[in-house]
Amino acid sequence: MPDLDRREIAAIFLGGALGSLLRMWLGRTFATGAGDWPWATFTINVTGSFALAYFATRLQERLPRSIYRRPLLGTGFCGAYTTFSTMQVETLQMIDDDRYALAATYALTSVLAGLVAIWIATALVRRVRIIA
């Protein structure tokens, strides 16, 4: 067992609760039908990746060390706000419907957009000029 730090657990719990609530609210507000492009999950995953890279890079490379910001904002909030399991079940549903191109496009576009979001957020924090 890793050393249990009650305040760290509380920070992860608070961040996870807020991330879960926001994902649920967005998912219900921007619900899409089965077989459609899952805009809610897609947008949540890309924006959450951007936020995680922003927080993680800032906390690791720019700010004085803090014990509870990473668990609250990174592990808790961004980790819980974004989701992998829903994305996999959505992809599986597309495969079931014989929409293989849609399934592959959804999975690969999510990964590509997630990586681009992380690259931009990391570069912004490091003050690197992004040249198009």
Partner: protein, 121 residues
């Protein structure tokens, strides 16, 4: 959705995030550093269980609480992507590509397996 269900979404979201932190820590401390195995195991196991819930045709508030809240918070997309990006920065392009390929293949396979088990349970 009732205020109690929203409260459950918050509580179970916090539980799911802590479960991820715990499992990731246990796996990462034991597995090698070839890939971020902690996140891969968390995401694969969460997809398996969500597939299982789909297989047993769970619906309504039960699916919201167990699936969307708990497993949605337990599994993570952003950490998977951040770890992939950092592998690429460390000039480990092959490991970065492998992390994506393994994550996707195992994720869909785990969800399909879980659903098959659930449908026959």
């Amino acid at each position: 959705m009732s205020v109690w269900t929203w409260l459950g979404v918050a509580l179970l979201g916090g539980v799911g995030a802590n479960a991820r932190f715990l499992i990731d820590g246990l796996i990462s401390a034991r597995a090698g550093a070839a890939l971020p195995f902690g996140t891969l195991v968390v995401n694969a196991s969460g997809s398996l269980v969500l597939g299982l819930l789909t297989g047993v045709a769970l619906s309504g508030d039960a699916l919201v609480l167990a699936g969307t809240a708990t497993l949605g918070s337990y599994t993570t997309f952003s950490t998977w992507m951040l770890e992939t990006h950092r592998l690429g920065e460390d000039a480990r392009a092959r490991a970065a590509l492998l992390n994506i390929a393994v994550g996707l293949a195992v994720g869909v396979a785990a969800a399909a397996l879980g659903r098959t088990i659930g449908a026959h349970a």
